[in-house]
Amino acid sequence: MIHPIPPGTRDVLPDEMRELRRLQASLLGVFETFGYSEVRTPTVEYADVVSRGDEDLAGDAYRFFDDRGELLALRTDMTIPIARLVATRFGEVEPPWRLSYVANSYRAVTPQRARLREFGQAGIELIGVDGPDCIAEVVEILARSLDAVGLEKAVIGLGDADLWAALVRDFGGSEQTVGATSRRLAAHDMVGLGADLEECGEFAAARIETMLSLVQRRGGPDVLADCRGRGGERFESVLDRLEATCEAVSARDVGERIQLDMGMLRDLGYYTGPVLEVYDPSVGEAIGGGGRYDGLMERFGVDQPAAGFSLYLEPIHKAQLEQNGKAGSGVSDA
């Protein structure tokens, strides 16, 4: 008898399960070493909680009614539930709060393109530490996590979600243009971005050229120096912040994993300030992401700086297999 399972889900058989458990254990081990405590939240939330966190993401949520007619949603990530948890439960506890998780989340994405609708994430949230040290601690733990799971070639892309808005405003663009063009940049549609900038009529051709070339700059620390003086006051001040972030990261000895990316905008609307993405040469999509999300905490009524990252377990496992020539155990026990 054949009993199908829904598209975008899968069974895990014993060999792979062992490897996944080892992967999770290595990551939790690193989180523990840095003083992060694991938490668990319910798989189902009130749909309001998910949409309060991120309206776009809420569109991908599986939603249904419970027996009282309340609209529920399967969680779409762990950051939103943890923001809810912190707001609700940690009022009396003195910050900073260091929390970690390993959990499955659910998104009703287009099936049939190797994208899972149930996927595993492991990550941390650091709430209540301000300044460049906040993101630097997150990057350090991220780098150590990549070491622990044996992904030597993985690279951490570092950008700042405010760079683009600052540049547009510096060059006299309207708030409306910031919104419209940010979507283009998040999708890295450079042709569409160029066309939008021309159509809105707010910029001279030379400025459009500058903007397009700046957001495509990516590489080592020299990228920062190259970008200096090419925008305006707001852009410079975001560059200052990015430079401070880079220095704080280098001071923790994990600078060699970093690639600066002046055009990075994460899809998730709740990021403010520094943003992160993780890439491995053997996987065609990002294997992790994160950044600073003060705005999300604010939406839940918590006035605290916050940052975190999440590693995507299935692509990481794939990268491990690739690295070990497909036959290896997945994780080095060392």
Binding site: V191, Y279, G284, E285, A286
Partner: protein, 220 residues
């Protein structure tokens, strides 16, 4: 060469579209010093050594699929294909300005025109190979249509009464005229685009930036 194709590293893999776009695309690649002799030869191979890059040939419609998965680092395909597969996550880096075509709405010559249909029947039936582009176009204007997806010669649909009109890509418009069809509305113009895989874009940034800027110059 074939041995290492599925693994990362080595020369960049560029997906090149077979079909109408191929000739002009190869011309551009020639101009930036990539060896296209292999692709031009009548070989049945699909993978060619282009010198600094590996050229992988495929149908234009498949290019976003390969690039999104990272099986090709870069790809060249029409904007029509990218619009139709909008949810594929590929980075669109450059307008190559070749292969100019228009996506149009056409109906039979002498018909009263689509707006009259709309007024009288409230709804029209459109045959197309581009259901998503067609749906978005009409929906965005509050016009109700039934989109019928067909794979072969779209021109046939209105002639035998399958649909009131068609949405299709035209270069010269000759096929429309030959089939007694008339262009009514232009939906969008399309040219060939250079797209990149999101991870390759970051991890092989220098090579991709160099190729992009040379192609930009070659495309003028």
């Amino acid at each position: 060469m074939l041995d290492s194709l599925s693994r990362p590293g080595g020369p960049l893999k560029v997906a090149v579209p077979r079909g109408a776009l191929l000739e002009e695309v190869l011309g551009l690649l020639d101009r930036i010093g990539i060896d296209t002799a292999g692709v031009r030869s009548d070989s049945r191979s699909l993978v060619f050594d282009g010198g600094e890059v590996i050229l992988v040939t495929m149908r234009p419609y498949d290019v976003p699929t390969y690039v999104e998965a990272g099986a090709a680092d870069l790809g060249i395909t029409g904007k029509d294909v990218l619009l139709e597969q909008e949810d594929r996550r590929v980075f669109e880096l450059l307008d190559l300005k070749v292969g100019l075509c228009r996506m149009v709405l056409a109906t039979r010559r002498g018909d009263t025109g689509p707006s009259e249909h709309q007024r009288r029947l409230g709804m029209m039936r459109i045959a197309t190979k581009y259901p998503r582009i067609a749906e978005q176009y009409f929906e965005g204007r509050g016009r109700q249509v039934e989109v019928v997806e067909v794979k072969g010669s779209i021109e046939l649909a209105p002639l035998v009464g399958l649909a009131d009109g068609i949405v299709d890509l035209v270069a010269t418009g000759r096929t429309l005229v030959e089939n007694d069809l008339e262009e009514r509305e232009q939906i969008v113009t399309c040219t060939a685009r250079l797209v990149a895989n999101q991870v390759s874009y970051r991890l092989r940034s220098d090579e991709i930036a160099s190729l992009t800027s040379r192609l930009r110059e070659a495309a003028g």
